[in-house]
């Protein structure tokens, strides 16, 4: 099944290429903030800090992104889900696996780009340390969080016709509030405090800041706690919606 997923990912080479291009968004942001910081640091971010931040954001976005919401919602809408339900594998597990399978290809394409940027940019504020061991954990949690949110929204397709529209709302907020376009710590102080408690930050900003070593011990603990909390909330919601949705789906006799 894993192999099949990779083959599928390949078949969509065009989509993949565009996906990579779209996710180079942080690299343009990098160029932007890098030149804005020419005269001096912005907040506590110097030029080198911006490079480290956005390259990490780019790579982590690559690793944690998912597209379950589009696939699942369209399967529910079109009734193709029935085919999936017939198979011995749980449909959600199927989607999880197919997401996982595309990961190597995407990293393979994205990693060199990240390295090239780092080489050209020259300066890099990345110190080795214990936090690098914790980073993979935060990335996995962020991935699971993204997945849960997407399954939640996709499950709404059991009742609504345009659930992906809701996901676009989520994505719009994510772009700004997750630290994808600008580090959340640069937000005005009061606002930053609130934003950093939201699930968006847990899904991207936190693993990024962790990876580039900007977080102290207590901040790490809070970050992980928030990730787990949001994961528990959205995971439980996803499963509940899925069960209720299946019942509604069966009732229609699709």
């Amino acid at each position: 099944m894993w192999r099949l997923g990779i083959a599928e990912a390949m078949a969509y080479r065009a989509a993949l290429l565009i996906w990579i291009l779209t996710t180079t968004f942080p690299l343009v942001s990098l160029a932007l903030w890098h030149s804005l910081a020419a005269a001096g640091p912005i907040g506590d971010y110097g030029r080198a800090d911006f490079i480290a931040y956005f390259v990490a954001a780019f790579l982590i976005r690559q690793m944690t992104a998912s597209w379950v919401v589009w696939d699942l919602a369209s399967q529910i809408g079109s009734g193709d889900l029935s085919v999936l339900l017939m198979r011995p594998v749980h449909p959600l597990l199927h989607h999880l696996m197919s997401n996982l399978a595309a990961l190597p290809v995407r990293l393979l394409l994205a990693a060199p780009l990240g390295v090239i940027v780092l080489i050209f940019a020259g300066e890099l504020a990345l110190e080795p340390g214990l936090h690098l061991l914790l980073a993979p954990v935060a990335v996995v949690l962020a991935w699971l969080l993204n997945l849960s949110v997407q399954i939640c929204v996709a499950c709404l397709a059991f009742w609504l016709t345009s659930s992906t529209y809701l996901f676009e709302l989520w994505l719009g907020l994510y772009m700004v509030l997750s630290g994808y376009a600008v580090p959340t710590s640069l937000f005005p102080a009061g606002l930053a405090a609130i934003v950093r408690y939201l699930p968006f930050h847990a899904a991207l900003g936190f693993p990024v800041e962790l990876t580039i070593g900007r977080l102290s011990g207590p901040e790490l603990a809070t970050g992980f706690a928030l990730q787990l909390l949001w994961l528990a909330v959205f995971g439980a919601l996803a499963l509940w919606l899925w069960r209720r949705g299946l019942r509604a789906y069966g009732a229609v006799g699709a």
Binding site: I6, M10, A11
Partner: protein, 336 residues
Amino acid sequence: MVPSASPAVEVRGLCKQFRVARREAGLGAALRALVRREYTQVDAVKQLSFVLGAGERVGFLGPNGAGKTTTLKMLSGLLYPSSGELRVMGHVPAERRSEFLRTISLVMGQKRQLSWDLPAVDTFEFNRVVFDIDAGDYRRRLDELVSLLAVGEVMRRPVRQLSLGERMKCELVAALLHAPQILFLDEPTIGMDVAMQLSIREFVRRYNVEHGATVILTSHYMEDVAALCPRILVIDGGQLRFDGSIEALTRRIRPLRRTSVGADEYPPAEQLAELGHVVERGAGRLVLDVEPERVPAVVQVLLALPGARELVVQDAPLEEVMRELFRREAGAERGA
């Protein structure tokens, strides 16, 4: 139907090739395809030539992937021919001239032109604008079509609430509002029940007779074609295999006439074998395939049987003829 002097459709040496991406199964092939994709040439239509007169009703017959739809789309200017000459109402379709597009219309059974969320009448109104139809003409044609197809109430409901048959009737209205002189129908009755098939068939025939429009039809349902088209073109493997009437096709493929009779007692097997090929014998019914020139003689013999009743002489069923035709073509292809 008397074809007029200038033909509606002239096709000479028409060819269409498609490039199809090819990939072997497996991970390695997928990786290779990521870098370089391999293509194969597929001949969808090969050296097709025919002439259709104005006002004719013509059916395209052929198995799936035979090139019927591709031909239809080249005739309507949607696809560029790879080579060959093509004229429809004196125009080269691929040039997409406005005057040409106003003289044709295409209805596809599997694709809608009606807006899904709106009542059909809104799409009609939009087509009035698109085809620049004079308000008076529009009113008159709409009234005529609506009463012929009985969609007066149906066309005011959102299309997504309509049944397949109702939707197709509205599609026909939308396609005919600009009074096209050529009507292309691609599988118009697909998925419909028999009653709806009959009513759509009847409508198309009537439209053809009353307006003199040329009708070109492809359908999987042999009865559609048999009932509607005095002339059929059999296309297989992108080539023209037959051009003529259904009767002529049947005679060529299955020259034997199917002759059946009921009787109290039948002659012995060896005597029957002299009359013709025995298809069925028993339960008070005898069925023979008989060579055409021997039919009168055989009928004499059969009527002389004790208690002879219900003698019937007919052509082989069309479905059987087609099956036979395509089997034969496939065999010839393999042999070559």
